[in-house]
């Protein structure tokens, strides 16, 4: 019997089969279109991924909200009642207020269940970087570690999760303020593709520019090569916002040059998707610790 439950949230972009395979639950955030609010479900049972990204392509503004307090309360209580502790692996605190909210809710819920524990870990990343930490939690739990041991471990390794992403249109990131870069960086130029990393405080940081769509893949391969540590022991994770064709091309190019054990392709969920926009490709590898920090966003 597991000693603690593993909980993440909608920005982990974990597909239903991965959630099931690694016995991970998630607390949904919400997205709104006009007046309608929907829970950001990772099984795409409300809007399909294609529908969702087509809405964005048509210019429909999608806004997102953090995990609501009652959702945290019911998830936490559900496990504590069962006699389990809870490990919550959150979206980067630089991207969502969910982590901050979870700390407060955890405190009040724990007061009702003496002896039980809720640990909240700020992943300082999102999408498959966050998901990977939740999966690591599963593996570490299987080794018999308790919630504190695993939470401490995750906090010690989180900055080794490297993100390399390119977006088709920077407007989405700019609009929701979820990217760090000076306005001079963007400028009014054509054919420029920014390379976006998750920096050491968990911000999306446009670290450099790639000119010309054809140069994007070779540059991504170079970035992965430079950052990765022990690729033969890890899975290459790539998530995309309704851009499977390019994601496959990126995967094939990386796999041809870097000896990853295997690879996993997935869809960027509605919350991350709403802030990066359709067409985004995001790569996650375990590698050197991230030391870069972008300027104020």
């Amino acid at each position: 019997m597991a000693s603690f439950a593993i909980l993440t949230d909608s920005t982990s972009d974990l597909s239903p089969d991965l959630l099931e395979r690694y016995n991970i639950d998630y607390a949904p955030m919400n997205y709104t279109m006009g007046d309608a609010e929907y829970p950001a479900l990772l099984d795409w049972s409300i809007h399909s991924a294609k529908e969702f990204y087509d809405f964005m392509r048509q210019g429909i503004i999608i806004k997102t909200t953090q995990v609501p307090v009652p959702v945290f309360e019911s998830k936490f209580e559900q496990y504590l009642k069962e006699g389990l502790d809870v490990l919550y692996v959150s979206c980067s605190s630089a991207l969502s207020g969910s982590y901050a909210t979870s700390l407060n809710v955890a405190k009040s819920v724990m007061a009702k269940y003496p002896g039980r524990k809720i640990r909240c870990v700020d992943s300082l990343i999102s999408s498959f970087g966050e998901a990977n930490l939740a999966i690591v939690a599963y593996e570490e739990r299987n080794k018999g570690k308790d919630v504190d041991e695993v939470a401490d471990y995750l906090e010690s390794i989180r900055l080794t999760r490297n993100q390399f992403a390119t977006v088709e249109n920077l407007e989405y990131l700019k609009r929701c303020g979820r990217v760090s870069a000076t306005s001079a960086f963007f400028g009014n130029f054509f054919g420029i593709h920014p390379l976006i990393i998750s920096d050491k405080i968990g911000q999306n940081y446009a670290i450099r520019k790639i000119k010309g769509a054809k140069n994007v893949i070779p540059e991504l391969v170079e970035e992965v090569k430079a950052a990765v540590v022990n690729p033969e022991e890890q899975t290459l994770y790539i998530s995309h916002a309704d851009n499977a064709e390019q994601a496959i091309a990126v995967r094939d190019a990386i796999m041809a040059e870097v000896p990853f054990k295997d690879s996993h392709l997935g869809i960027i969920g509605p919350i991350v998707g709403a802030s990066v926009g359709p067409g985004t490709i995001s790569i996650y590898v375990i590698g050197k610790e991230v030391t870069v920090q972008g300027g104020a966003s």
């Binding site: 870069a181 009014n188 054509f190 010309g212 054809k214």
Partner: protein
């Protein structure tokens, strides 16, 4: 010029150099406008007025009195703007003060200056203190020059200029609107530049006419009040400053908008002097200056200017066209830690940039196997590649003859003066139909010579 008296010819030299110094600094005077909008024209008005005087005289006139009279007449006729009218009245008073004299001594000059300021005051219905009028008056009244015993002009001019400066710097204390704007009076500043120029002539330093072409000098710190907002806006220390040469109104504006701190207007022929570059370098306060000459013919000029100014600090990126300059700018990232890293980013993709132009042939010719007809549209890169009476055809043919067009990804279309956005977009449509994999962007470059310029990357 012996320095003890001024003849008619001496006055001519003084007037001329006064004009040149004012002209050179006219934009500074313009910038001292009270309203924070770019409509200041005091410097221009004063220099036009003064020039009218110079153009009206016989430069070989020996008599100082006759020289001044003719000069005065010229300024009265060419006076423009309030500042010009006041200045022309000042000159009128001065010329009346010496009208009987063939040579002028320092005491004569002082008396004429007093007459000059009285005349200037009388030109205005309600004289306002804190303006150039105050400067005209105080430079004599408050300096005690009337009581001193000058035998030479040089110390007299030194004292007059000192007095003018003091009076000028005090104008914001007299006139609230100047204090509010954080500037000194622009007309007073113009007058100071005239007198400084005259003093230079007295010392034997005539400003070369060729040195006057550029007017990029920076406003002296002291022309702003200590708490002036403009002081801080004026010049900010930066790690990297980019200086570029460009021609065409739209291109100049574009480079400015994209963060080029000093754009040198190369004019229609895009051929600025080394001095223009040096002046541009002086106008920025940066650890490193990166220069984009943007024309194959001015790379050497830029390099020479860099050598003169500070070869350690100035780095020339050899952009051979504005399209290359655009490409280099598109890769700028000021957060890079070293200038070498920044230059690496800016130059990384440059070898891949092809610059294409569409212009009109000025004569019939057969070049590079292309039959060129006068008046027809010519497409060219380094060579003439196409010619057609139809602009779209000329463009399509040019693209078709680029050997590496299939490797290209992005085309930025800069359209020139006389080309509408609609024209540019429809030309782009024709290109897109032919090259569906290319990405197109459009910029209104308002170039004079070229209908179109293409950055093909």
């Amino acid at each position: 010029m012996d320095g003890t008296v001024l003849t008619g010819e001496d006055l001519y030299s003084l007037f001329t150099n006064g004009y040149r110094n004012l002209k050179q600094n006219a934009s500074i005077v313009d910038a001292l406008n009270v309203f924070p909008i770019p409509d200041g024209d005091t410097g221009k008005n004063m220099s036009m007025t003064w020039l009218g005087g110079i153009e009206n005289v016989d430069k070989e006139e020996k008599s100082a009195g006759k020289m001044a009279k003719a000069f005065s007449k010229g300024t009265l006729l060419s006076a423009r703007g309030n500042s010009g009218v006041i200045l022309s009245q000042f000159v009128r008073g001065f010329s009346q003060g010496i009208k009987e004299l063939d040579v002028v001594t320092p005491p004569d000059f002082i008396l004429a200056m007093e007459k000059a300021s009285q005349k200037a005051y009388s030109a205005v219905a309600v004289p306002t203190e804190g303006t150039m009028l105050t400067v005209m008056r105080e430079c004599i009244e408050n300096t005690g020059v009337q009581d001193a015993d000058y035998t030479e002009f040089s110390p007299l001019f030194t004292d007059i200029i000192k007095g003018m400066k003091k009076s000028l710097l005090n104008t914001p204390n007299i006139l609230p609107c100047l204090a509010e704007a954080g500037v000194v009076d622009s007309g007073g500043a113009g007058l100071l530049y005239i007198f400084e120029g005259m003093n230079m002539a007295l010392q034997g330093h005539m400003i070369e006419e060729s040195e006057m072409e550029e007017d990029t000098a920076e406003t002296p710190e002291e022309f702003f009040t200590p708490d002036s907002k403009r002081r801080s806006m004026r010049k900010r220390h930066v790690r990297y400053a980019i200086v570029a040469a460009a021609s065409g109104e739209g291109m100049i504006e574009y480079f400015k908008n994209e963060g080029v701190l000093a754009v040198i207007d190369g004019g229609q022929t895009n051929n600025p002097s080394a001095k223009a570059f040096v002046d541009a370098f002086k106008s920025v306060d940066a650890d490193h200056i990166i220069v984009l000459p943007n024309d194959g013919n001015i790379i050497l000029t830029a390099k020479q200017a860099a050598k003169i100014f500070d070869p350690e600090k100035v780095h020339v990126i050899e952009t051979k066209s504005m399209a290359e300059g655009y490409s280099a700018m598109s890769m700028v990232d000021y957060s890079l830690p070293t200038v070498d890293a920044l230059i690496h980013e800016m130059t990384h993709y440059l070898p891949n940039v092809t610059t294409g132009y569409i212009t009109t042939a000025t004569r019939d010719a057969n070049i590079n196997g292309v039959d060129v007809k006068e008046g027809a549209y010519v497409g060219l890169t380094d060579d003439i590649l196409s010619c057609d009476t139809d602009i779209t055809e000329a463009t399509l043919k040019m693209f078709a003859s680029l050997p590496d067009i299939d490797d290209k990804q992005v085309v930025t279309v800069f359209y020139g003066k006389g080309i509408s956005e609609e024209d540019a977009l429809s030309l782009g449509d024709a290109l897109m139909e032919k090259y569906p994999l290319l990405e197109f962007g459009y910029i209104n470059g308002k170039m004079d010579v070229y209908s179109y310029m293409f950055a093909i990357e």
